[in-house]
């Protein structure tokens, strides 16, 4: 792991433990997420990869009976410290979910939702943000003539790109993606993957995926999770060609999962 330290570290997690009631869902997870890279979290269902992702922007806070210990540092600042403004944190760390979840409102209002949350009211400014965000999510051409139409009329793949546009509209620094293509067809998946490669130029991207080929294709770093533990973490190429841990090897060669 020594070679990782040279790059710019965006998020540090140290000894993160998470309990859902009595269920020990994350066990001493320590890993660093690097700026302007795509970091993928892989592992079988229930291994804690999504849970881990959600600790990074405190989305687990809304789940009742959750206990979290350890440190999560964003640019050196502990996001679980008392007095941290969760609204501001989530502005910095945006999220895209497994199922496309545009709100049942117009395409425009969907993208403008985040900026409005953070107090932007000027119509001209919002217009500009909406256009730039939709362009950034590679969906502007398809939507520019129907910004006032209901977002639920879009196809699944378009909806997910809209959700990405919605996420980048608040100018986050990090984008978390929780299996963003698992509900999409192959062509839409491809589009989203292309988009991710573009996104990492401006943002730090962390993605949970079920699809190992996807992790291998798009990510720079990969972490393998198993029953709440982070088993192995390293450059994607190394993880997939020369895994150090036996379990990682078994998983990526398809012996379980």
């Amino acid at each position: 792991m020594a070679e990782l330290n040279n790059s710019d570290i965006k998020i540090v997690t140290k000894d993160v433990n998470l309990f859902y009631g009595d269920n020990h869902a994350l066990k001493d997870v320590t890993l660093d997420i690097l700026s302007n890279k795509i970091t993928a979290f892989i592992g079988p269902s229930g291994c804690g990869k999504s849970t881990y992702l959600k600790t990074l922007n405190r989305m687990n806070d809304i789940v009742p009976n959750v206990k979290i210990s350890g440190k999560v540092l964003l640019d050196g600042e502990d996001i679980y410290e008392n007095g941290v403004n969760v609204t501001y944190l989530r502005k910095k760390i945006g999220m895209v979910f497994q199922k496309p979840n545009p709100f049942p409102m117009s395409i425009y209002d969907n993208v403008a939702y985040g900026p409005r949350v953070h107090g932007i009211k000027s119509k001209a400014r919002l217009d500009e943000i909406v256009e730039n965000s939709l362009k950034g999510a590679a969906i502007w051409e398809e939507t520019k003539d129907r910004l006032k139409q209901n977002a639920l009329g879009l196809s699944g793949g378009q909806q997910q790109r809209l959700c990405i546009a919605r996420a980048i509209a608040v100018e986050p620094e990090v984008i978390l993606m929780d299996e963003p293509t698992s509900a999409l067809d192959p062509i839409s998946t491809l589009k989203i993957e292309e988009l991710m490669s573009q996104l990492k130029e401006k943002y730090t991207v962390a993605i949970v995926t079920h699809n190992m080929q996807q992790a291998a294709r798009i990510s720079d770093y990969t972490a393998f999770f198993l029953v709440g533990e982070m088993i192995e973490y390293g450059e994607t190429q190394q993880i997939f060609s020369r895994p150090k841990n036996k379990k990682t090897e078994e998983y990526i060669t398809g012996r379980f999962g």
Binding site: M59, Y88, R90, F103, M105, G114
Partner: protein, 300 residues
């Protein structure tokens, strides 16, 4: 095939099953038919009995002081409208607020269970008890005397469970992924409720309001002791008088029906005419509910 043909015992069983099934089917048909015929029967009965006293004069003029011979229900129609508006203005915000609290803010546990149980119990209490309570509490303690306001406050308590329960149910159907989406963008809970949850559950809230209107229009027992028996039109000469009317007595259509029926004799036919008006209003409300519900489904 052969096995089936030769096995007489099982053939017999199949026949028995079929016989039971036909019997059950007939039974269910009779039940359904009875229900429909009750409803249709009542409507026809009221129509026939009510048409006699019905006239344009009956619905367009207020009754003149008894025993002067003018029978009209315009005053009562106005009173009923007052009751509907004031009751809803009081109960809707409280009910929707309570529903939001229960589903979005309160920690799900014993307290919310107790509150939900209480609301449910509240909706099962006979309305005359609300009337009794209202007459003591609002009439005497709050010194509202017999007034439309006292009646509305009593009705407001009565319809709260409808509004709370219906709104709660519709808030619960808002997909969790909308909440996650909003929270993930940094929205505070209240911002999320205002911009996502409430717009998504507006259908349920509207349904609860319409159901409540039905309940208000149909209520009599809770009003006799609280809103009084007056049937005159408000004497409106300025804007202030519109509000002052709330402090006057006012019998709703149902209470007026009760008065006509209680006096009996010649006035019985006016009781039926009032009933006819009520039935038509209730029908309209039902149709309205259906149309609104369908309209929302189309939008979704």
């Amino acid at each position: 095939m052969k096995a089936l043909q030769t096995n007489n015992a099982s053939n017999l069983k199949i026949k028995q099953h079929r016989f039971v099934e036909i019997l059950l089917k007939i039974f269910i048909w009779v039940c359904a038919l009875l229900t429909v015929s009750f409803v249709v029967g009542i409507i026809i009965y009221i129509l026939v009995k009510g048409i006699e006293g019905m006239s344009w004069n009956f619905i367009s003029t207020p009754a003149a002081a008894y025993p002067v011979e003018n029978y009209g229900i315009l005053g009562n129609i106005v009173n009923t409208l007052y009751l509907i508006v004031i009751t809803l203005v009081i109960a809707t915000p409280i009910g929707v607020g309570a529903a939001i609290y229960l589903t979005e803010y309160a920690k799900q546990g014993r307290l919310t269970k107790i509150i939900e149980f209480t609301t449910e119990t509240l909706s099962g209490i006979p309305s005359i008890i609300y009337g009794l309570f209202g007459s003591v509490f609002f009439y005497s303690v709050f010194k509202l005397n017999y007034s439309i306001l006292a009646g509305s406050l009593t009705l407001a308590i009565m319809i709260l469970p409808i509004i709370i329960r219906t709104t709660q149910e519709s808030i619960k159907t808002v997909p969790i992924m909308y909440r996650e989406g909003a929270m993930g963008l940094g929205a505070t809970r209240w911002y999320m409720i205002r911009t996502v949850i409430l717009p998504c559950s507006i259908e349920g809230i509207l349904t609860s309001v319409i159901l409540s209107i039905g309940r208000i229009v149909g209520e009599s027992a809770a009003l006799i002791f609280t809103a009084g028996l007056a049937y005159n039109l408000p004497n409106i000469t300025g804007i202030g008088d519109i509000f002052k009317k709330a402090m006057d007595q006012g019998a709703s259509l149902t209470v007026q029906l009760y008065q006509y029926a209680a006096r009996g004799g010649e006035e019985m036919k006016y009781a039926f005419s009032t009933a006819l008006v009520l039935v038509i209003v209730v029908l309209i409300i039902n149709v309205l509910t259906k149309i609104i519900a369908r309209g929302f489904k189309k939008v979704k």
